[in-house]
Symmetry: D2
Subunit: 354 residues, 4 copies
Amino acid sequence: MIIMEAGATEEQIEHVVKEIKKFGLRADVSRGEYRTVIGLIGDERKIPFAHFSVLPGVKEAMMVETPYKLISREYSKFFEEASEGMVIKVGGIEIGGDEPVFIAGPCAVESKAQLFQIAEGVKKAGAHILRGGIFKPRSSVHSFQGLGAGGWEEAEEALKWLYDAGKKFELPVITEVRGETQVDLVAEYVDILQIGARNMYDQDLLTTVARKGKPVLFKRHFGAGIEEFLSFAEYIAAEGNKAIILCERGIIPIGKGKSYTRYTLDLAAVPAIQKETYLPVLADPSHATGRRDLIFNMSCAAIAAGASGLMIEVHYNPQEALVDGQQMITPEELEDVISACQRIHKLIAPGRKR
Amino acid sequence: MIIMEAGATEEQIEHVVKEIKKFGLRADVSRGEYRTVIGLIGDERKIPFAHFSVLPGVKEAMMVETPYKLISREYSKFFEEASEGMVIKVGGIEIGGDEPVFIAGPCAVESKAQLFQIAEGVKKAGAHILRGGIFKPRSSVHSFQGLGAGGWEEAEEALKWLYDAGKKFELPVITEVRGETQVDLVAEYVDILQIGARNMYDQDLLTTVARKGKPVLFKRHFGAGIEEFLSFAEYIAAEGNKAIILCERGIIPIGKGKSYTRYTLDLAAVPAIQKETYLPVLADPSHATGRRDLIFNMSCAAIAAGASGLMIEVHYNPQEALVDGQQMITPEELEDVISACQRIHKLIAPGRKR
Amino acid sequence: MIIMEAGATEEQIEHVVKEIKKFGLRADVSRGEYRTVIGLIGDERKIPFAHFSVLPGVKEAMMVETPYKLISREYSKFFEEASEGMVIKVGGIEIGGDEPVFIAGPCAVESKAQLFQIAEGVKKAGAHILRGGIFKPRSSVHSFQGLGAGGWEEAEEALKWLYDAGKKFELPVITEVRGETQVDLVAEYVDILQIGARNMYDQDLLTTVARKGKPVLFKRHFGAGIEEFLSFAEYIAAEGNKAIILCERGIIPIGKGKSYTRYTLDLAAVPAIQKETYLPVLADPSHATGRRDLIFNMSCAAIAAGASGLMIEVHYNPQEALVDGQQMITPEELEDVISACQRIHKLIAPGRKR
Amino acid sequence: MIIMEAGATEEQIEHVVKEIKKFGLRADVSRGEYRTVIGLIGDERKIPFAHFSVLPGVKEAMMVETPYKLISREYSKFFEEASEGMVIKVGGIEIGGDEPVFIAGPCAVESKAQLFQIAEGVKKAGAHILRGGIFKPRSSVHSFQGLGAGGWEEAEEALKWLYDAGKKFELPVITEVRGETQVDLVAEYVDILQIGARNMYDQDLLTTVARKGKPVLFKRHFGAGIEEFLSFAEYIAAEGNKAIILCERGIIPIGKGKSYTRYTLDLAAVPAIQKETYLPVLADPSHATGRRDLIFNMSCAAIAAGASGLMIEVHYNPQEALVDGQQMITPEELEDVISACQRIHKLIAPGRKR
């Protein structure tokens, strides 16, 4: 990490960047109101910091030995806008701002009618962003893979529905990209690109998605520790895209005997991650529990733990959903969840910082 | 499980119990206001249910194939007092009642002065029950094992301090029993006997503790699934003691890299367990997180998830504590936690049943 | 699964395939010496099996409700060539045949000289296939990512070295593909395409790789259960490519305290998987243990457990390796490993079937 | 750890021990052929090492900061008898010696006839030690708990059968003690006291068992890391009993979906533990896999990994066994296992040290 002097010129900054490249690393230039900080991407052990600390305009050059630097609190404390936690703006919605954000919609888009009906419901219930899966990652090739599995045309049609539903109900939209070849198409239609838990380790996908420049919702893999999760988020930041929304969605349950929840929602990860990074952290109680009857409790718990929002699956007829019906709630139930969560947030927010 | 007719006589009940014993099983007789239900303890496959269903006074005889029956919702639905969730009364305190209960105190009793000072602090902060470890289970024989390690006399002296502190500050007291030989002594001085996470699988200890007839706080082992946890709680109930307070205290973290929390607090286990059993469920954010700076968030989250109370470690000088200093909060911080939790509980309680 | 009669005609087979497509599923046609079996790819619940069982040439139509069918023992028992376990031939090497196969080489290709020197060493030591990483999946964007990270030209140059080393020392070669866009390039130069543990869940990559028609070495993710591992292998088989070499490489260690091995090598998974599928199963003791001093023991153990071969990282100067030096052995050590493994294999093979 | 000079007198040693006690610690005095080493039990940070290093007869006083010291390689290297790995002798059998040791017998003793029949079978098959469970730890209070559950008289009768079977077939015998109150009784009849996986963390039981002075077979808990396992073994050594036989018996499986093995046999733990401690390490493929059809493979694998022996469950009619029938093999199958294991051991032993 190289901290430039307050009055460093553009030329001086460019000179430093050029020098960094000479050593085979990349530079992340963050221009704050008062000063510019240059993060190094790559193996810092190759860099002679002494050499850099005497370059014109350089205030300090120091090594940061952690697998995540660009998204760390340490790195952000030089920038006013991120020092209190970064706020990511999508449409008129602020993620990581003063109010918790609710992303809701069907697990999988099944038809235009289904999507529009649910979109209307979640809007009325108070949700802020509309979700809908088109390319569905599935554990079995013999399960429904989303409308995206029907070919590019069908996928594009479903994406248009999502786009149109978002416009009609004034909700920014989000969907998952599962493979590199889907990124360009999906990015045309949605406001936020989601990388699912199963793809967390897929660094080529992360890089490709990051380069679109759109906000990325990034889910923790169910087998990943927090350090790994943040290390892979760093792959997105390394492409210059720091509009990263982290999402805890449950880790592998341990212990013998049957599982009472699909995954173990690791809520302590929410504040623990917030102490490490300036990025906003959401929780997904739907996939974590896999149980409709636990959504209310775990939504409240996630907000109480400090989450900046929730991602919840909603369906009008949960028992008829093609994917994950047992974990969906109705728009009416969503309204109760949102209302309880907002009151909890109000109650505890003053005593807490992100 | 054998459900007696509403007007079954004592003789008929006794006859059924005698018949059960003939098959090498034990009987758990639960007398409700309207009817009596007899639970079977042992291998039900040995029982000819057809034979039992025609005994005088028997309404229905049925096999319940689950490793926990006596503590199950199914078993309790025949009794009014437990059908809405069982309330365990200790002193004037109700665990599992309308208000969340806070158990607080030092991890380990270090001296009389330390204990009394903290007891005064937690009372003032609003805690309901005083905790203090005397027989400390430790991962290393080379660590401080509690004053109980100094011999029976020292142990008894420390137990008297706990008893006296409880009397002075009008707080029921709880401490852990780690081995069978400690049970008699400890039961003389405390109101609730605690079985720690490391001893969850120690069925002989469970049986010995259960037979004292006092309420038991039973912690989930960090490697145990929910089914195992409840199956071992059943060992306590099988001795006729159903005053069991369950406690979630974190499971083994998974994932590579450093752990950001000591264990993973499995908060979804709280409502999931509540749907299985009528017993109250607490959470212990201190051991689960091992981090003082996460106690506030995770306490709020546990109550929001539906916990009937919390167990929190408190010390005046956390950095000087002989055991687990990094996870203790001060009495002042406890007051904030209790106040926030009570407000959250009030806010969500009407929309939720245990 | 649809089993055709022994004398079923091509027309009858095609008719069945056409009917399957009508219901939105795909067909996997396996022509055995005596009969043809047609596997269904997709949601079998959509298929009216009664309708299919009366089509001309159909002997039996039955539903197989498991997430992996095409790679299952059940499916293979109709084909003589796979019924005793499938043998995958690469160059003159048989994987899954009578002799254990040893894949060895550097974790990462660092230079032409390094690769050729190691290739010569492993050939002399008795290895059968040469490995060398060019696109390295790494947990940190700040670590060396392989020569593939230097751009397509550098990647292609490194691939050519691998190709040339294979030709010179008469060793088929294998390298990992990490992203969809790398598949075409890599497939030009190597005999076996490897999908690494971190990408196990990346179904789009799996599909893309499978379509190249080359043998695929498929590693189990460190957070994946066996059922998941096989379910994702099914994605490869669903593209008509059954030349799949499975590889156990260790799962996430559990338990508190420091890890003595990098992962937990799940050797019982080797015979357990062999009972489920006809595909050959290898083990990778290098990544699993991360410890050079355990490679000999765990290599012997893997072969004793029934593995069809091993994948081992080798370097001339382990301490100078750019990636994973602490787990590499020298070519001399490899020779000892191979020799011990071959003797163990001989000793136990007669008493064991795959 | 305090290393005495070669010619240190008994008086000097006693003086050091007295000084250690002054600081509230205990001393473990190990008299080697050439020198005496005194291990400290308790919190070493209380000890002023400078003070000790100048006491008469003291060569060196140094702090060893690990949760296990008395069982560590470091501690043993001063004693010739343990420096190559400790050999524990029971009857004429050497555990940890030149030959692998096989402990076999029924999971649970069901009757005298059953025990004697199996004992005869395992003797003929080549086993060295007879096992038979009397106090069975079970996950459900509703399962068969062993004959020990029938009361002290029934337990003693079963213990006598075990004793008699051992005498008749010239096999040392081993059984599990599950609770402190059972220790005295069990120790009268058996040669080795077993502490089961579920009781690994039960430090009071460990201490009570250790004090009997008999060899202890100590099993790793299925949720325990290696460091924890060794730290709890240290509780046994701290009582002056170092005749500890460690046993790996499988850890909790991770990953979604059904488990193909009951636990995950962590075979790399065998050599990893051997590098940490001089104690012999066995493996239990029966409990680990829970599958009769995997016992042969995993037994061979365990010996190949370096285990000093195996613990295997045997029954004449596995399908009729009251406990764990699905994991038992017949005496005939045991003979095959032992024969294969002995050949593997011979083959690899010269190239390996414990």
